[in-house]
C-alpha cells in the first residue's frame, strides 16, 4: 500500500507571531519556519507503517512557495521515500489545497492519505475532511490510534467526551491528533540521504485546479490584551479576593 502524507510549512510553533502594523496579516519575513507539528505526526505514522511492512511507499506532498522544499526535506529525512511539491506563491485556502490533493491522489492512487488535524497558522481544521469529501472516501479525524486490517482502517478518534472508534472502508483519509505518536528526530545520515531523494515539482495549472481564494481577509489585528493582575501571598488571601473583589465564588 502506498501512503500519501500532506505536509504544511508554517511559522515555527515556538515563535510568538507579530501582527503587521498595517493590519494586512502577521509578519512572516525573517521568521523561523518549520513543519506544522501535526504534519510531523502524520509523517511519523506513515514511516512507522512502512517499517511495519503495512506501507510499501511513503510519498509526501506540500503546496506552497519554493521554501516548502525544506519542509519536504525534513519529512524525507524522517524516512519518507519521495516528495511532490506543488509550487505556488499564492496564499492557499483549505478547499483549494483539498482540490490540489485530490488531483495528486488521482495520479498517485494511494491506499491511505494522512494529514495533520489542523495547521497551527490558520487553525482551520478542514483540509483532510474536505479531501475525503471530494474523493468520496471515508474520513477518520483526530486519530490517536490507527490499525490497518485488510480493507478496513480502525481509527480511534479524540472527541470532546473521550474516545470514539470507527471502522473505515479503505482507501481512506485520516487526520492525526497529538497522542498518536511522538515524531522522531532525523539522524544526520538520514538527513544526508534525504538530500538525494526526489522532489517532483508540479503546478496548480498542471493539475487543472483553480486555487483562487474565496475569502477576502479585510484585516488582521491583535486581540485585546490582558493585563497582569496582582500577586497574593496566601491561599486564604486568594479566596478572600475571589469572594469579595472578583465575586466569582
Amino acid at each position: 500500500m502506498k501512503v500519501l502524507v500532506a505536509v504544511k510549512r508554517v511559522i515555527d510553533a515556538n515563535i510568538k507571531v507579530r501582527v503587521r502594523q498595517d493590519g494586512s496579516g502577521v509578519e512572516t519575513a525573517n521568521v523561523k519556519m518549520a513543519m506544522n507539528p501535526f504534519c510531523e505526526i502524520a509523517v511519523e505514522q506513515a514511516v512507522r507503517l512502512a517499517e511495519a511492512g503495512t506501507a510499501d511507499e511513503v510519498v509526501l506532498v506540500s503546496a506552497g512557495p519554493q521554501q516548502a522544499q525544506e519542509t519536504l526535506r525534513t519529512g524525507l529525512a524522517m524516512g519518507a521515500d519521495r516528495a511532490i511539491h506543488i509550487v505556488t506563491d499564492q496564499p492557499l485556502e483549505p478547499l483549494a489545497v483539498a482540490k490540489l490533493l485530490r488531483a495528486v491522489v488521482e495520479r498517485e492512487q494511494p491506499g491511505l492519505v494522512l494529514l495533520g488535524k489542523q495547521a497551527i497558522d490558520d487553525d482551520c481544521n478542514q483540509t483532510g475532511q474536505m479531501l475525503a469529501a471530494l474523493l468520496g472516501w471515508a474520513q477518520g479525524t483526530f486519530a490517536s490510534k490507527i490499525a490497518i486490517e485488510g480493507e478496513t482502517a480502525s481509527v480511534t478518534r479524540e472527541v470532546d467526551g473521550g474516545l470514539e472508534t470507527v471502522a473505515l472502508k479503505m482507501p481512506a483519509v485520516v487526520t492525526v491528533d497529538l497522542r498518536l505518536n511522538e515524531p522522531r528526530y532525523a539522524s544526520l545520515p538520514n538527513i544526508m540521504k534525504a538530500k538525494k531523494k526526489a522532489i517532483d515539482p508540479l503546478t496548480a495549472d498542471e493539475l487543472g485546479v483553480d486555487i483562487a481564494p474565496r475569502l477576502q481577509v479585510l484585516r488582521v489585528e491583535e486581540p485585546p490584551g490582558r493585563e497582569a493582575g496582582i500577586k497574593v501571598e496566601t491561599a486564604a488571601e486568594l479566596v478572600d479576593k475571589l469572594v469579595n473583589e472578583a465575586g466569582v465564588i
Binding site: 510553533a13 510568538k16 502577521v26 501535526f38 483549505p94 478547499l95 488535524k117 497551527i120 497558522d121 487553525d123 481544521n125 478542514q126 475532511q129 474536505m130 469529501a133 471515508a138 474520513q139 477518520g140 479525524t141 483526530f142 480502525s154 479524540e158 472527541v159 470532546d160 467526551g161 473521550g162 474516545l163 470514539e164 472508534t165 470507527v166 473505515l168 472502508k169 481512506a172 497529538l178 497522542r179 481564494p213 474565496r214 475569502l215 477576502q216 481577509v217 479585510l218 484585516r219 488582521v220 489585528e221 486581540p223 490582558r226 497582569a228 493582575g229 496582582i230 500577586k231 497574593v232 501571598e233 496566601t234 491561599a235 486568594l238 479566596v239 475571589l242 472578583a246 466569582v248 465564588i249
Partner: protein, 319 residues
C-alpha cells in the same frame, strides 16, 4: 434565504455548544440572513428537537430520527444536509469535535470555503475568527453563496429554551454509504460539569508531576463545582486523557473563573483560556508567562498551596 443550524445533541437535549450556535444564528438573522432552522439528526432524538422548537427565534426544526444517525458519521450527515444546502445562505455547526468533523465535509461537497471557529458576526458575509492560536484576529469576508461556518461556543451566549413553539418537520433519512462504521466509544464519565460549559475550571500542567496528583485538583473542583482541565504538557506526559486538554489544539474554555496550577502558560495553552473572566495562576516560577494574563497569582509550591486553598475554601463555608 435562511440560516440552518446543524445541532449536536444528546438525544433528549441540545448540547450547550448548539445553544451558542443558535445565538450566533439569531445574530445572523438580525443581520438580514433570514429565518433560523435547526436540524436535529439522531436516533430517538425527538426530545432535542422539542427543546430546539421552544427557543425564541427558531422558526423551524427539522427532525431526521433514524437509526443510521445514532452516532452520526460526517459522511452520513453530509449526505443528509447536502440536498438541502441551496435553500440556505448560512449553514452553522458548533466548533466542537462534532462540528469540526462534519462541517468541512459538507463544505467541500457544495464547493464552499468554510469559515472556522468564528467568534463574532460583523455582517451577513463578514466574520471575525482567531488565527495563530488566537494571537491574531482575522476579519474575513466570504463570497460563497452558501457559507459553511463553525461557531466558537464561548463567544456567544447560550440561547435559552423558552416559550417558543416552532413547527417540527420530519426529514427522511438520506441513507448511508457504509464508508464509516461506528464501533464504540470510551467516554469519560464524570460527575463534574462539562469542561467547555463549566462556570469554574481548574487545570493542571506539567508541574502536577503525575496523574495521581490531579486528585489535589479534584478536591478543589469538588468544592467549587468546577470542571478539571489540563495543559497539553500534562496530556503529553500521560497524566490525564486528551479530552482534558485546554488550548489551541484542545478545548476552548471561557469560564467565570479559571485556575491554572503548575501551568507555565505556553502560547497554545493561553489560546484556550485567555477569554476567561477571572484567571488565577499558581506556579513556583514567578517568571512564568501565565502570570502575565492572571488576575491573581500565587508564587509558590503547588503541593503546599493546594491543601491550603482547600482549607481556606472549607473555612469560608463554615464561616
Amino acid at each position: 434565504m435562511a440560516v440552518l443550524v446543524v445541532a449536536e445533541h444528546g438525544g433528549h437535549a441540545l448540547a450547550p455548544a448548539t445553544l451558542s450556535t443558535i445565538s450566533c444564528a439569531a445574530e445572523l438573522r438580525e443581520a438580514g440572513a433570514g429565518d433560523v432552522t435547526v436540524l436535529v439528526a439522531g436516533a430517538d432524538c425527538r426530545g432535542a428537537a422539542e427543546e430546539a422548537a421552544t427557543i425564541d427565534g427558531v422558526a423551524k426544526v427539522l427532525l431526521a430520527d433514524d437509526g443510521i444517525y445514532e452516532n452520526p458519521s460526517a459522511e452520513a450527515l453530509a449526505a443528509l444536509v447536502q440536498p438541502l444546502a441551496s435553500q440556505y445562505g448560512h449553514i452553522l455547526y458548533p466548533a466542537s469535535t462534532f462540528g469540526k468533523n462534519a462541517a468541512p465535509r459538507l463544505s467541500a461537497l457544495i464547493d464552499s470555503q468554510q469559515i472556522s471557529d468564528i467568534q463574532a458576526v460583523v455582517d451577513a458575509d463578514t466574520f471575525v475568527r482567531p488565527i495563530y492560536a488566537g494571537n491574531a484576529l482575522a476579519t474575513v469576508k466570504s463570497s460563497d453563496a452558501v457559507k459553511v461556518i463553525t461557531v466558537r461556543g464561548t463567544a456567544f451566549e447560550k440561547a435559552a429554551p423558552g416559550g417558543g413553539a416552532a413547527p417540527i418537520e420530519d426529514l427522511a433519512a438520506a441513507g448511508d454509504d457504509g464508508l464509516s462504521k461506528f464501533v464504540g466509544a470510551e467516554l469519560s464519565s464524570s460527575e463534574r460539569p462539562e469542561l467547555t460549559s463549566a462556570r469554574v475550571v481548574i487545570s493542571g500542567g506539567r508541574g502536577m508531576q503525575s496523574g495521581d496528583n490531579f486528585a489535589l485538583l479534584e478536591e478543589i473542583a469538588d468544592r467549587l463545582g468546577a470542571a478539571v482541565g489540563a495543559s497539553r504538557a500534562a496530556v503529553d506526559s500521560g497524566f490525564v486523557p486528551n479530552d482534558f486538554q485546554v488550548g489551541q489544539t484542545g478545548k476552548i474554555v471561557a469560564p467565570e473563573l479559571y485556575i491554572a496550577v503548575g501551568i507555565s502558560g505556553a502560547i497554545q495553552h493561553l489560546a484556550g483560556m485567555k477569554d476567561s473572566k477571572v484567571i488565577v495562576a499558581i506556579n513556583k516560577d514567578e517568571e512564568a508567562p501565565i502570570f502575565q494574563v492572571a488576575d491573581y497569582g500565587i508564587v509558590g509550591d503547588l503541593f503546599q498551596i493546594l491543601p491550603e486553598l482547600k482549607a481556606a475554601l472549607d473555612a469560608r463555608k463554615k464561616g
